[in-house]
C-alpha cells in the first residue's frame, strides 16, 4: 500500500486550488487523482470568458483559468495521476483506484479532499413523455462535442431549462450556425446568471419562455420536434397553451447534482438539500480528516468562489495533518425563511482565523429584502438586498469579533426578512 499525507480526488479547479493551498502550508506528500486525460476539469470545455474576475482581476476563459492552477501544481512538483478512476474511499482514509498502467492502486492517506465536482441532471430524472429518439443531450455534453471534439450536435435547437450551461450553449450553437428557437424554463425566473441572459439570449434574440415546460417529445430515430406549454403556479401544464416547435436537437440544462458516490462509500454524512456533504468551518465532513470543496460540496455559479472555498479546504487539511486542528462542537448554522441551505453547516470559531464566509442560496426570488443573521435571538446583521434569486449564490462574512461578542451562542440563524 502506498502512503501519502494528502490524497485529493478530482483535478478540476477545486482539487487544483486545494492542492496548491495545502502545499503552501508545508505539505509535500500530495497526490491528485483525475479520471480524465488532462487536469482542469470542466473548465477545459468552458471556452467562453468571464472566469477569474475576483481571483485574478481579469476576465479569462475556462482553459486560461485552469492553466494558471495547472502551472502552479507543476511548478510545485505536486504529484498527479491522470486517466485514473477512484473506485472506493473508506472512513479509514484508504483510497482504491484503478488505471491501465498501475492496475489497482491502494493508497493510505492522513487526510483526503473530496473534489469530484457535479454532473448534469439527465432526461431520465424529468419524466417528459415521448419517444427515446436521438438528438437529446444535456447542455454540457453538447458543449463537449462542440468545444472539445469540434462536432455540431444539430441544426435546430430547443433548450429546456435556463441553467448557465444551457444559456452559454444557446450562444455557442447560434454562432456555429444553428438556429436556437427557444429556451424553455419551468420556473417564473431563470436559474442562470443575469449577465448570461443578456449576452447569450438577448444579444441573439433567442426567446426565454418562463413558466413553460416541454409536454411531448416527437420523433422516431431522430428528434423531430417538441411540444411546449405554459404552466400554472403549481407548475402543471395549462390545457390549450400547447405549441409545437419543430427541432432536431433538445438540450437539457435542468440542474447539476453533486457527485457523491464515493462520499457515501466513505460514510460521509450528506445534506438532503445540497446533495453534498455537511461540513464544518474548515470544510471538514462528518469523518475527521476527510475534507471537501467545490461543486461536489454544493453547486457554485462562479469558479472564483470554488477557488476560495478550496483554499480553505486545502489549508485546513494541511492543519489537520500537522495536528493543529481544533476539535470541539461547533455552533449550528440554521437556514430558514427563504434561505435553502448554508455552507458550512456548523462553525467552531477557533478554526476561522479572522472570519468566515458563509455561503447560501435562497429558494425563490426576493426583491427589496434583508438578509438577517441572528446569534441565538440577537439580530447581528441586517443587509438590504435589491434582489435575491435562487440562481445566484449569496454570502455573509462573519468576523471573529462577532463570535467573540457572542461567546455562549448555541445557534446562528440566517433568514430573509421583508423589513
Amino acid at each position: 500500500m502506498q502512503e501519502y499525507d494528502l490524497v485529493i480526488i478530482g483535478g478540476g479547479p477545486a482539487g487544483l486550488a486545494a492542492a496548491v493551498s495545502a502545499n503552501d502550508q508545508g505539505i509535500n506528500s500530495i497526490l491528485i487523482i483525475e479520471r480524465d486525460d488532462q487536469l482542469g476539469g470542466i473548465l477545459n470545455q468552458c471556452i467562453h470568458n468571464g472566469f477569474g474576475l475576483h481571483t485574478f482581476k481579469e476576465e479569462l476563459t475556462g482553459p486560461e483559468y485552469s492553466k494558471r492552477f495547472i502551472d502552479k501544481v507543476v511548478a510545485l512538483d505536486i504529484e498527479y495521476k491522470l486517466d485514473t478512476m477512484v473506485l472506493d474511499v473508506n472512513d479509514d482514509k484508504q483510497v482504491t483506484a484503478v488505471n491501465t498502467e498501475d492496475g489497482i492502486l491502494e493508497i493510505k492517506a492522513k487526510a483526503i479532499i473530496l473534489a469530484m465536482g457535479c454532473r448534469e441532471r439527465p432526461r431520465g430524472a424529468l419524466n417528459i413523455p415521448g419517444s427515446r429518439c436521438s438528438g437529446i443531450y444535456t447542455a454540457g455534453t453538447a458543449q463537449k462535442y462542440v468545444n472539445v471534439e469540434g462536432l455540431m450536435p444539430g441544426k435546430e435547437v430547443v433548450i429546456l431549462g435556463s441553467g448557465d450551461i444551457g444559456l452559454i450553449m444557446a450562444r455557442r450553437m447560434t454562432l456555429e450556425g444553428a438556429k436556437v428557437k427557444a429556451c424553455v424554463e419551468l420556473m417564473p425566473h431563470s436559474s442562470g446568471l443575469k449577465r448570461n441572459i443578456v449576452q447569450c439570449l438577448d444579444d441573439f434574440n433567442i426567446p426565454l419562455k418562463l413558466s413553460h415546460t416541454i409536454t411531448n417529445i416527437v420523433g422516431q430515430d431522430r428528434l423531430e420536434g417538441v411540444t411546449i406549454a405554459e404552466v400554472d403556479e403549481h407548475r402543471k401544464p395549462i390545457k390549450g397553451t400547447e405549441q409545437y416547435i419543430p427541432c432536431d436537437t433538445l438540450l437539457l440544462s435542468v440542474g447539476l447534482l453533486p457527485e457523491n458516490e464515493l462520499s457515501r462509500q466513505a460514510n460521509v454524512k450528506l445534506s438532503r438539500v445540497t446533495g453534498g456533504p455537511e461540513v464544518d468551518e474548515s470544510m471538514q465532513t462528518s469523518i475527521p480528516g476527510i475534507f471537501t470543496c467545490g461543486n461536489v460540496l454544493h453547486v457554485h455559479d462562479l469558479v472564483d468562489n470554488v477557488t476560495t472555498e478550496s483554499y480553505t479546504a486545502g489549508k485546513n487539511a494541511a492543519d489537520y495533518i500537522n495536528g493543529i486542528h481544533h476539535v470541539g462542537t461547533g455552533i449550528e448554522v440554521f437556514a430558514t425563511a427563504g434561505v435553502r441551505y448554508t455552507v458550512p453547516q456548523t462553525i467552531n470559531a477557533e478554526n476561522i482565523g479572522d472570519g468566515i464566509d458563509v455561503r447560501f442560496r435562497v429558494g425563490e426570488v426576493f426583491k427589496n429584502s434583508y438578509v438577517s443573521v441572528y446569534f441565538d435571538d440577537a439580530l447581528e446583521m441586517h443587509l438590504k438586498k435589491k434582489i435575491l434569486t435562487p440562481g445566484e449564490m449569496e454570502s455573509v462574512k462573519l468576523t471573529k469579533a462577532i463570535f467573540n461578542k457572542y461567546s455562549d451562542c448555541k445557534k446562528i440563524t440566517i433568514k430573509i426578512e421583508k423589513e
Binding site: I47, P63, E64, E176, L193, Q199
Partner: protein
C-alpha cells in the same frame, strides 16, 4: 431625455443599471456598484462591444480543436463576421495561450489569440 434599463455584464453580480440619455449622449448612470458598470452602460448605449470566443482547427497536436478569443472586445455588430473570419483557419501545434491565431481581425486592430496550450502529438 430618455432612460434605458440595462443589466451589467461586466461581472457575475449583474447590476441593474438605469441610464439617462439625451439623444445619443449618456447623461448619468445609476444602479452600478463599481466603475465597470458605468463604463459598460456608456459603451452599451453608444458603441456596444463584446469579447468573442470560438474555436479553430489544429493539426499535428494532441487535440484537434483550439479554443480562441478576441484579445479585446470588438463591436457587437461584428460578432457574426468575426466568427466567419475564423472559418477555414487551421493552426499547427504546438501552440500556446496568447499566441496570435489571426491578426487584426476585420481591421478592428484586435487579434484573435489562443486560449489553451496544445502540444505536438
Amino acid at each position: 431625455m430618455s432612460t434605458r434599463e440595462l443589466t451589467c455584464i461586466g461581472c457575475p453580480v449583474g447590476c441593474a443599471l438605469e441610464v439617462e440619455l439625451q439623444g445619443n449622449d449618456v447623461i448619468s448612470v445609476k444602479g452600478n456598484t463599481c466603475k465597470i458598470g458605468e463604463n459598460y452602460a456608456k459603451k452599451e448605449c453608444t458603441n456596444p462591444t463584446r469579447v468573442v470566443t470560438s474555436s479553430v482547427l489544429v493539426t499535428g497536436g494532441e487535440s484537434e480543436i483550439l479554443p480562441v478569443k478576441t484579445e479585446k472586445d470588438i463591436p457587437k455588430d461584428l460578432i457574426y463576421k468575426c466568427i466567419g473570419a475564423l472559418k477555414g483557419v487551421v493552426v499547427k501545434a504546438p501552440i500556446h495561450i496568447g499566441d496570435i491565431v489571426l491578426e487584426n481581425v476585420l481591421d478592428t486592430g484586435v487579434n484573435i489569440i489562443a486560449t489553451k496550450d496544445i502540444e505536438k502529438s
